[in-house]
Symmetry: C2
Subunit: 211 residues, 2 copies
Amino acid sequence: MNHDMIIRITRYYRILNRLRSLGLEKVFAHNLADAAGVSAAIVRKDFSLLEIYGQKRGGYDILFLIAALGKILGKTDEPQNIIIVGCGRIGRALMHYNGFEPDGIRIIAGFDTDPLVYSENVHPVPIYPMSRLEEVVSSHQVDVAILTVPESATSDSFQRLMNAGIKGVLNFSPITLKPVADAEGLKPVIHNVNIALELEQIFYELQFPKT
Amino acid sequence: MNHDMIIRITRYYRILNRLRSLGLEKVFAHNLADAAGVSAAIVRKDFSLLEIYGQKRGGYDILFLIAALGKILGKTDEPQNIIIVGCGRIGRALMHYNGFEPDGIRIIAGFDTDPLVYSENVHPVPIYPMSRLEEVVSSHQVDVAILTVPESATSDSFQRLMNAGIKGVLNFSPITLKPVADAEGLKPVIHNVNIALELEQIFYELQFPKT
DNA sequence: TCGTTTATGTGAATCATTATACAATAAAAA
DNA sequence: TTTTTATTGTATAATGATTCACATAAACGA
Ligand SMILES: NC(=O)c1ccc[n+]([C@@H]2O[C@H](COP(=O)([O-])OP(=O)(O)OC[C@H]3O[C@@H](n4cnc5c(N)ncnc54)[C@H](O)[C@@H]3O)[C@@H](O)[C@H]2O)c1
Ligand SMILES: NC(=O)c1ccc[n+]([C@@H]2O[C@H](COP(=O)([O-])OP(=O)(O)OC[C@H]3O[C@@H](n4cnc5c(N)ncnc54)[C@H](O)[C@@H]3O)[C@@H](O)[C@H]2O)c1
């Protein structure tokens, strides 16, 4: 399964949950396609490759699809624990965001180097000094961290996360982090969110519209 | 030029600016490739397609490349004005971010429906009530808006932006906005940033590593 | 009951992207 | 000066993704 396909699958999964909550039971390939912004052919192809089958003329059963896709996406009943490293403006906005819970993602702690930040007690989750990183990561079985430290601290913090046993990072700094294989040849999974880059792409596309 | 290529070009552009500020004058395809996380062949292919040429065995002239790519990316001396609609936690974090200026992007105003938010006077840029949207957009020639309103307000706010003449939107809500052609057949450029989706993809990739 | 309609499932065709391979060329070394 | 080396530029091959097209099956309607 390729990267684009994973994105589509996660999209389908969300859309299906929405459709279910609206009380629907069946969905056609072209409905899903419209909602996900892809072609109906590719929806059918995706499901075909995943060996998920519908009923001829009847479409696909939503509950069945949700179960099948959930399994593929590794959805469990237990939420996934994550941490936030760098509790500045962006980090704290993420901490207060309540849109992760429905997706089974739970922020269990923040980390910061600034005592003014980590000694405050008014956060939705505790903020610890960086010295407690390893302890919290291992005791709560945290695999994934959101990295929202200043640009200058990005590489060091990333290294620190790797050493603490973190396996996946969502990086908000404009420094593009790249996965480097560890001693056992395992590469961390890194996604870089670069907001300025997104804006630049929009400007580009406005200036040179396709067709 | 396709979408992936635009992303690469914006990457090259940033990297080149960094290299220049380090005092370098020449760069080889494989240096850029390493920094951008792509293969050297694709760097050469990209430049070849863009009709940007280097010196055999001498690599590419950094200043020349920056000029050429800047032109392609529509870089001007004037910064691009943008606005932020929905000045909550995320919106305000973006307002305070000073990493846009170096990229020629300037946030000129925020908009919100909540009088408690727009009457405060402590922001880096003014926050106006939504009623002043059209006026500010047209008087400052704003083409692009960042949309950071709650999920429930997303579609309405988006429509409002379209009516006000906004042509590009960076949307942070989990509702995926889709471009719909206007009366003249022009489609807005929309980029959706979905943080929960990014996290889900990381979990997926951790569970099913490639190769 | 028997055509008609509607949607799935998938092999083949098309299209797009990336990698390979190497000739061309300029710099450096001998 | 000649040879070696390093790097570009691109033609071609390989790979991968998407769309097309249609056989297939189920539901519907007459
Ligand atoms: N704010 C935005 O809108 C925005 C937009 C795009 C990118 N970013 C990027 O996101 C990152 C965070 O931005 P921000 O605006 O929240 O910055 P911020 O300065 O508000 O917050 C950074 C936080 O990290 C902490 N910190 C510093 N060094 C640390 C270290 N070594 N380990 C742990 N914590 C450390 C600081 O104490 C601070 O609390 C930056 O890299 C920035 O470039 C931010
Ligand atoms: N905070 C996060 O970490 C995070 C993460 C992912 C996605 N998001 C999404 O980003 C968006 C903003 O999140 P947030 O945490 O900043 O929310 P928030 O509630 O802090 O801020 C929303 C702001 O929008 C204003 N608003 C409401 N309706 C409006 C309207 N019709 N027009 C203009 N302004 C309006 C509110 O007054 C408020 O100031 C949401 O859609 C959220 O789902 C946020």
